[in-house]
């Protein structure tokens, strides 16, 4: 590996969507969209339910291949391979589930070890502290509330300190303290990373420097 996520300067990261459109069978799940966002900063993806916010985030994360168009993540001027993108991206979304038979810390440790991180225990401890979940690290995921699982998703996204954070409805299930902690986290990270938030929550999109409005009217139209 030529560079690690932690060594990249935030100014050298650019995320781009070029004429991206996605269909689920005959339905258009994401209307054509293009945008370019450079780190550091916060970008909000907004749109009606079913307009394709989550689909766009999955495409940006390299988890879904778009039907048309392409996405690109450039680091230090070089475009990264789509298959390698998760190395540079932290992803927190409702479709992210954890191993229920493992503890919160074991899930994060598995992620840290799989990513080949040095000192995985330290990384796990720091990630749990950042979302105020350190006291529940040894609890199995089945014993965590929905809000705590959401905090664990945020910890997972932050674990390897990626230059890009993709967050889908990050405030979901969080109580007031959790939302406050999340807002604090965004404020603390916004000068270091590119943060992309898919949301319709005013409290969340007002944090953004710029917004991308998805044109889909929800529920998808037949192609």
């Amino acid at each position: 590996m030529s560079a690690t996520a932690a060594m990249v300067s935030p100014e050298s990261v650019v995320l781009e969507a070029r004429e991206v459109l996605h269909r689920y069978g005959p339905r258009v799940g994401l209307e054509r969209v293009s945008f370019r966002a450079a780190a550091p900063g916060v970008v909000a993806i907004r749109g009606a339910n079913g307009s394709g916010k989550s689909t766009l985030l999955r495409i940006l994360a390299g988890l879904l291949r778009p039907t048309e168009g392409e996405t690109a993540l450039a680091v230090d001027g070089a475009e990264t391979k789509r298959s390698d993108r998760s190395r540079w991206i932290g992803y927190a979304a409702p479709d992210l589930a954890f191993y229920s038979e493992l503890t919160a810390a074991e899930n994060l440790r598995f992620a840290a070890e799989s990513r080949g991180m040095e000192r995985p225990d330290e990384a796990v401890r720091q990630a749990l502290e950042r979302v105020h979940l350190e006291s529940r690290g040894d609890d199995r995921v089945t014993a965590l509330s929905s809000g705590m699982v959401q905090r664990l998703r945020l910890a997972f996204a932050l674990l390897h300190r990626p230059p890009v954070l993709l967050m889908d409805e990050p405030g979901s299930f969080l109580d007031e303290e959790g939302r406050g902690a999340w807002v604090g986290l965004v404020q603390a990270q916004r000068r270091e990373r590119l943060i992309v938030i898919a949301t319709n929550e005013e409290r969340e999109w007002t944090l953004a420097d710029e917004s991308v409005e998805l044109r889909g009217r929800g529920l998808g139209r037949p192609a």
């Binding site: 992210l96 992620a111 990513r115």
Partner: protein, 224 residues
């Protein structure tokens, strides 16, 4: 956080450790496979009795029990990722090939554990003659590698489909048949005092070919 250069090996090791820990905590496949192997062994033993001098039947029965134990359990490695909705997390932290190799190693260890219980029980209950241990263990090891590779790749292919159980049995059977045929032939030969070199070579070559084919496939299997 810095990453080290041997991250692929680290990912394989992490997946293997996670699989072992998950299986230990849930006994998701172990109990089912052991129960299946032992009950089918007991049923064969009660219905046929001891077959001390029938090495042809013994070899066939042994591998049929192992084949069905594999069919009953080895697809779980991928199916439970889909059922637990953990495939997204897995895809985010490791490359498809590292995931597949980790799961393949787990399936091989799993099968070895089943054999540690099943094979001595089989030899005892069926009154089988003492095997030539070197040849016998080499056949078991290479046969298990073949079963594990075929089951892992088919498990990955069918994991996101409906009707996985029937599909797994139907899809994996053509891939597993050469392994079982060669293993049965070799096991019979070692009891009859013949050479097993040809069968060992065939099992090794088939395992290498199957592994190479499956490694080419894994990168394309989990696209949405």
């Amino acid at each position: 956080m810095p990453t080290n250069p041997s991250s692929s090996a680290a990912a394989v090791w992490a997946v293997l450790r996670k699989e072992c820990l998950s299986e230990w905590r849930t006994r998701y496949g172990l109990n089912a496979a052991l129960l299946f192997a032992i009950t089918s062994l007991a049923a064969v033993s009660f219905s046929i009795g001891r077959l001390g001098d029938r090495s042809d039947v013994l070899a066939g029965l042994l591998w049929i029990v192992l084949l069905f134990a594999a069919l009953a359990s080895l697809a779980h490695a991928f199916v439970r990722e889909v059922e637990g909705r953990t495939l997204t997390m897995l895809r985010l932290v490791a490359a498809p090939t590292a995931i597949a190799i980790g799961k393949l190693l787990f399936n091989f260890l799993f099968l070895a554990l089943i054999e540690v219980v099943t094979v001595p029980l089989f030899l005892m209950l069926m009154g089988a003659p003492a095997p030539r241990w070197g040849s016998f263990l080499a056949l078991l090891a290479l046969g298990s590698v073949g079963l594990a590779i075929a089951s892992t790749v088919v498990g990955a292919i069918i994991s996101q489909t409906r009707g996985r159980g029937a599909l797994f049995a139907g899809t994996s059977f053509p891939l597993l048949l050469p392994v079982v045929a060669a293993a049965v032939s070799g096991t019979r030969a070692q009891w009859n005092g013949g050479s097993v070199d040809a069968e060992l070579r065939l099992l090794a070559a088939y395992a290498v070919a199957l592994l190479a084919m499956s490694l080419l496939l894994y990168d394309h299997l989990w696209e949405d």
